[in-house]
């Protein structure tokens, strides 16, 4: 796939595309992207420009991360990447344009958190939402890769309806098992691997995935 035919390298003049980072890579609003990577440096290569572009564009930004990272964000390497790019992280945190929070194990709790954020963005007059998920938060909170699959499919269905969202879910493949990585590939229409962003052919319709999860659960309980 060349850049000229890649839908990600969209028309920057269109209202439906969102600048992804410093190169000419754009994604449509509503996009749900998985980034599979190894180590903090590779993560930051994608995450920091993603958030930077959002902060500069006046987007509401949310970073869902591990509990240990959220209480004192200024010590966290994620902000190092943003600071290196010249961003005023503390200012963005103070104005709540950038919100950092830990993931929650229940779908209802996560949904509630997103609803609050949407309200906050509306009050602040922000038109777009950028959500970045450091998925290591799920390691201690999701009991199995099946629960993770369910959450991602649920979110994908939600994000697909919410056109003002762009979501980047980051998986460090050294910390997740094979089933979790495959679950991530099944639930994200776009994928970044080795810093290349492309359509993901392993993606499945979230309704199909959820039906499979519920069917499996039903048969194991019966």
């Amino acid at each position: 796939m060349s850049e000229s035919t890649n839908p990600l390298a969209g028309d920057p003049g269109s209202e439906d595309v969102l600048f992804f980072e410093s190169r000419a890579v754009y994604v449509a609003t509503g996009a749900h992207i998985v980034h599979i990577f190894k180590g903090e440096e590779e993560r930051s290569t994608v995450l920091a420009p993603f958030l930077k572009a959002g902060l500069e564009a006046g987007d509401q930004c949310l970073l869902v991360t591990e509990p240990s990272a959220s209480p004192n964000l200024t010590d966290y390497s994620i902000t190092d990447g943003l600071v290196e790019l010249g961003m005023d992280v503390e200012g963005a945190l103070n104005t709540e344009q950038l919100v950092v929070t830990e993931g929650r194990p229940k779908v209802e709790e996560m949904s509630s958190m997103f609803s609050d954020l949407v309200s906050k963005a509306k009050r602040a007059g922000r038109r777009q939402m950028r959500i970045a998920g450091d998925m290591t938060w799920a390691l201690g909170k999701m009991a199995s890769s099946e629960k993770l699959l369910e959450w991602e499919a649920f979110y994908d269905r939600y994000a697909g309806h919410e056109t003002k969202f762009v979501t980047l879910c980051q998986y460090d493949h050294t910390r997740f098992g094979g089933s979790a990585v495959m679950a991530a590939l099944r639930t994200h229409p776009l994928a970044i691997i080795s810093c290349v962003v492309q359509e993901n052919p392993f993606y499945q319709d979230p309704h199909e995935v959820l039906n499979e999860v519920y069917r499996g659960r039903g048969s194991s309980e019966s």
Partner: protein, 233 residues
């Protein structure tokens, strides 16, 4: 959402009932994969990612059955205990497994930890095929043993380099590597995605866009070679 049409699951349904025409590989040199409408080019190197044993057998049994029926040389790398179920399945569809084993058309062996040891098994398989006048070779590897026997994905790549040395469009040798997602690390799955040009997941066989290079050793040298839009400066 961008590219709505492209978000549908692509590839060929492994059920094989929806499209009877061969799609994968050149029509000059096709290898029947074992299901209606599913062919791959000789020299194909395919990764199958599965969650349950029955999924593994759904792909493996027709791959081996078709090879035996077509007088291909078949090598199955797996633990003997995992061969028993496959043997039963093949017998149900009237494949004379015992004769295939006795004649050496089908060889079942444990994987060996050293790449050099596996190399000698491959050489023996090629010689056996030549002596018996068999024109095509099918190798299926239950990758659980590889991942259990090696420490790093670098070693996993070295193993695939060995595969690459024997595979190729002119070798009449097709490779099916089966990965149990639940028994593999995320790193191993990612590595497998980057070194197999074709993949099977669920019921779909398709080209794998995360494949980095035709030759696995290139992966070590060019980790960012792929399609799509690069985010690297």
């Amino acid at each position: 959402m961008v590219a709505e049409g492209a978000l549908r699951r692509r590839g060929i349904s492994y059920d094989g009932h929806s499209d009877p025409s061969p799609r994968l590989g050149s029509t000059m040199d096709l290898l029947f994969f074992g299901r209606p409408g599913i062919y791959s080019a000789r020299g194909a190197h395919i990764a199958h990612f599965f969650e349950e044993e029955k999924e593994r057998l759904t792909v493996l049994a027709p791959f081996i059955r078709t090879g035996l029926t077509a007088n291909n040389q078949c090598l199955l790398i797996t633990e003997p205990s995992r061969f028993a179920t496959l043997e039963s399945l093949l017998r149900v569809v009237a494949v004379d497994v015992k004769s295939a084993l006795v004649s050496g058309q089908l060889v079942v062996c444990n994987g060996l930890a050293q790449v050099s040891e596996m190399s000698s098994i491959f050489e023996e398989t090629l010689s056996r095929a030549r002596r018996a006048g068999r024109k095509a070779i099918r190798i299926a590897g239950d990758m659980t043993w590889v991942l259990g026997g090696i420490a790093t994905t670098k070693n996993q790549l070295e193993w695939e380099v060995l595969y690459g040395r024997y595979a190729g469009p002119h070798a009449n040798l097709s490779l099916l590597c089966q990965y149990d997602n639940g028994n593999s690390s995320g790193a191993a799955i990612l590595c497998a995605l980057q070194i197999h040009p074709l993949s099977i997941t669920d019921r779909f066989i398709q080209e794998n866009p995360f494949y980095l290079s035709r030759h696995p050793h290139m992966v070590l040298q060019e980790p960012h070679r792929s399609r799509g839009s690069t985010l690297k400066q």
